[in-house]
């Protein structure tokens, strides 16, 4: 075996090792805010319903899995705690629309979606898009309004980050989640349907 052939074998082996190591990492985005989110609290008692599809929304890729749904639920619950005087998470069964409620309204985490484009370490950045749909209902099940918010974040990896796909993606996933939640809070605060509902409390 020639020296050059052995060197090429070693190089291929290292590349294969790098790919194997980089694959299969699971990324769990941060699910807690450092401080209580800032919001002018609405004096209302709210029931929170989380659809299973929202909670289980994850992203699977050969290089990285993103456990996105559970973290999103945890962040939204903290946000709702700031937004409303009191919140109660409703049981999964029976469905909340099938019985009467004492709360002033029901807020439902309806759907969540994450799209991830893995770039490279030269000219194509990693891009993450996060989308949430959240709905507010009267206690009798009548819909007050739904909001769909979306945020995109990107980051161009550089040479030394080549093998660190999951840790390089983590800040953009978290950034997109936070931006999308912030957008929801802003939309909720300024919405006329919400102000009308608030005045009826």
């Amino acid at each position: 075996m020639s020296q050059r052939y052995r060197f090429e074998n070693l190089f291929v082996l290292i590349i294969v090792c790098v790919q194997l190591i980089a694959s299969g990492c699971t990324l769990k985005p941060e699910d807690k805010f450092e401080s209580k989110p800032i919001y002018q609290t609405i004096p209302a008692i709210i029931g929170v319903s989380v659809k299973n599809s929202f909670r289980l929304s994850n992203y699977k890729h050969t290089l990285v899995d993103v456990e996105f749904g559970e973290s999103s639920v945890a962040l939204f619950l903290q946000v709702f705690e700031s937004m409303f005087k009191n919140i109660t998470e409703l049981p999964k069964w029976p469905p909340w629309k099938t019985y009467k409620h004492d709360q002033d309204a029901i807020i439902e985490l309806d759907s969540s979606q994450i799209d991830l484009t893995i770039g490279d370490n030269l000219i194509n950045p990693d891009v993450v898009t996060v989308l949430y749909t959240v709905c507010l209902y009267k206690p009798d099940g009548e819909q007050i309004k739904c909001w769909t918010t979306q945020a995109t974040k990107s980051h161009q990896r550089i040479l030394v980050e080549y093998t660190l796909v999951s840790s390089s993606i983590k800040p953009i996933v978290e950034g997109a989640m936070r931006a999308s939640i912030a957008d929801f809070m802003k939309s909720f605060e300024n919405d006329q349907a919400v102000q009308k509902w608030q005045s009826s409390l």
Binding site: L10, L13, I14, C17, V18, I21, A22, C25, L27, K28, E30, F33, E34, S35, P37, I38, Y39, P125, A151, T152, K153, S154, H155, Q156, T163, L164, V165, S166, S167, K170, P171, I172, G175, R178, A179, I181, A182, D183, M185, K186
Partner: protein, 226 residues
């Protein structure tokens, strides 16, 4: 024999880098925070809506490191920490769009309470811009049995950093400072191009740090800086 040692070593190193680094983050930052009398928060504002990292992150890190070396008794907070403390008010889609809006935001009861809880005295907001102008050319040339790149390129770079310093007890008295650094990146090519980069980011950051520290020095908290 050497190869046998190298492969397991690389494998272990990459496992550590690939997976363990995910946990780097708030725990470490929080651990470094020691409550002192003066705290300075550094944030990029107004920040980019989409791109994370890049030149703004480089400047943030540079400013934090250099201010810390001048003011060892001050506690410094990076922008992730500040954004988290003031969530959702400093997210790209919800951030204030003007200085008047910023003053209104910083005057809000909950905002003031959250910042006071962290003992933050100064908020340093910055924007950064780099202008580049390329000259010259490098051409690929090939002959009998040989080839490569030949020529000369140079890129004139100018980095501008603008900073607003907000003393939280005197919000209406915001101080503005700017710093600029110019340089030329040379790329001579003889078979292979060899870039000789101009370090304008570092230069502008150094000048800006001196101005920020100069401002903190004349404040009632000046004792924290050398």
């Amino acid at each position: 024999m050497k190869r046998n040692i190298l492969i397991p070593f690389l494998t272990i190193l990459l496992i550590i880098m690939g997976c363990a680094n995910q946990k780097v983050g708030k725990e470490q930052e929080t651990a470094q925070v020691v409550r002192e009398e003066v705290s300075i928060g550094v944030i990029n504002w107004p920040s980019d809506h989409i791109i994370i990292g890049g030149i703004a992150k480089d400047i943030e890190n540079c400013l934090l490191n250099r201010i810390k070396s001048h003011c060892p008794n001050a506690t410094l907070f990076d922008q992730d920490f500040i954004r988290d403390t003031l969530f959702p008010l400093l997210e790209p889609t919800t951030q204030p769009v003007s200085e008047t809006d910023m003053i209104a935001m910083l005057s809000r009861k909950h905002v003031t309470a959250n910042l006071r809880e962290k003992n933050i005295t100064f908020l340093v907001t910055f924007t950064v811009q780099t202008l580049e102008e390329t000259h010259g050319c490098i051409l690929p040339l090939a002959g009998y049995g040989a080839g490569g790149f030949f020529g000369l390129m140079w890129i004139d770079k100018e980095t501008n950093i603008s900073v607003a310093i907000w003393e939280l007890d005197m919000l209406s008295d915001v101080k503005h400072v700017t710093a600029c650094d110019e340089g030329t990146t040379w790329i001579p090519a003889c078979i292979l191009p060899i870039p000789l980069p101009a370090m304008t980011l570092t230069g502008a950051c150094r000048k800006m740090t001196e101005k920020i520290v100069g401002f903190v020095k004349v404040s009632p908290h000046g004792w924290v800086c050398n």
